[in-house]
């Protein structure tokens, strides 16, 4: 583990290839489109499962775009990803467990 971090160190010091303003605007457009799609999905009359799935997919894509591009996680040291995705995964796993246990009791 340690060796990997230490090997990774030098490349951090260089200005990593940040995407430029143009890319950021493109990402923002993608975010806007996905939001529109989400809202449209919430209005159209399909079955609840398909609609829910569609909204969740849009949500996840938006989330990933912001984290990977605006927060630079895609270009940054892996350790940051581990810190953040670790917390995120833990939260998702634990609360899915809590909610499914509770759904089973309440139903």
């Amino acid at each position: 583990m340690s060796t990997r971090h230490e090997q990774a160190a030098p490349e951090v010091h260089q200005e990593h290839a940040h995407p430029g303003p143009r890319t950021y605007v493109e990402i923002a457009v993608a975010l806007a489109v996905l939001t529109t799609l989400e809202v449209i999905l919430s209005y159209i009359n399909v079955n609840d499962f398909a609609r829910g799935l569609g909204i969740m997919i849009c949500m996840t894509l938006k989330f990933a775009l912001v984290v990977m591009w605006f927060m630079h996680l895609r270009f940054d040291n892996r350790l940051f990803t581990v810190m953040f995705v670790g917390g995120l995964t833990l939260a998702v796993a634990v609360f899915i467990a809590v909610l499914s246990i509770q759904r089973a009791i309440f139903a």
């Binding site: 230490e6 939001t35 605006f70 810190m83 953040f84």
Partner: protein, 202 residues
Amino acid sequence: MAVHTTTGGHEATTSTGLDNRKLFMWLFLGSDCLFFGSLIATYLMYRGRDEALGKPGPHPAEVFDIPYTSASSFILLMSSLTMVLALSAIQRGDVRRLRIWLLATSLLGLTFLGGQAYEFTAFVHEGLTLRTNLFGSSFFVLTGFHGAHVAVGVLMLLSITVLASQGRIRQQDSMTVELAGLYWHFVDIVWILIFALIYLLP
């Protein structure tokens, strides 16, 4: 072996080569996932319970104004764009653009907060308060904590804007802007989750 801490002082580099403050910020954000996870889980656990137990409304379907919230969600999303442009400006050493984009981000954030204040007032007029039912409690507390995060972010951004106009944020201080940016984007992604899970999902 890479560069290492040789003194406690200024020229110190770290064992991993990563900035202390940035590592701190990512740890904080990882931890904050659990914080908002708990709040969102509370909301989801109580979702539909008022209706199932026959408790008085208003219920979500009666008060949510999706077009209005979509607009304020869009504003917050765009503030992430201005934020990342601010960072990119200072990394090039362009303090003037930094100030412009920071100010734009703060204004978008304030607009979002104003929108939230208006939405809360509208809900109260329709008879939904913290005390009304489970929906009222879990909705206001979740979105309220998110709003508090936004407010802290706006305060941070405005403070940095002031520092920048005093010439105290230079190209080599871009980390300060980067950290505020990470926090700001995090607040944005939490809203992405809230908007989809709380407002849009049936």
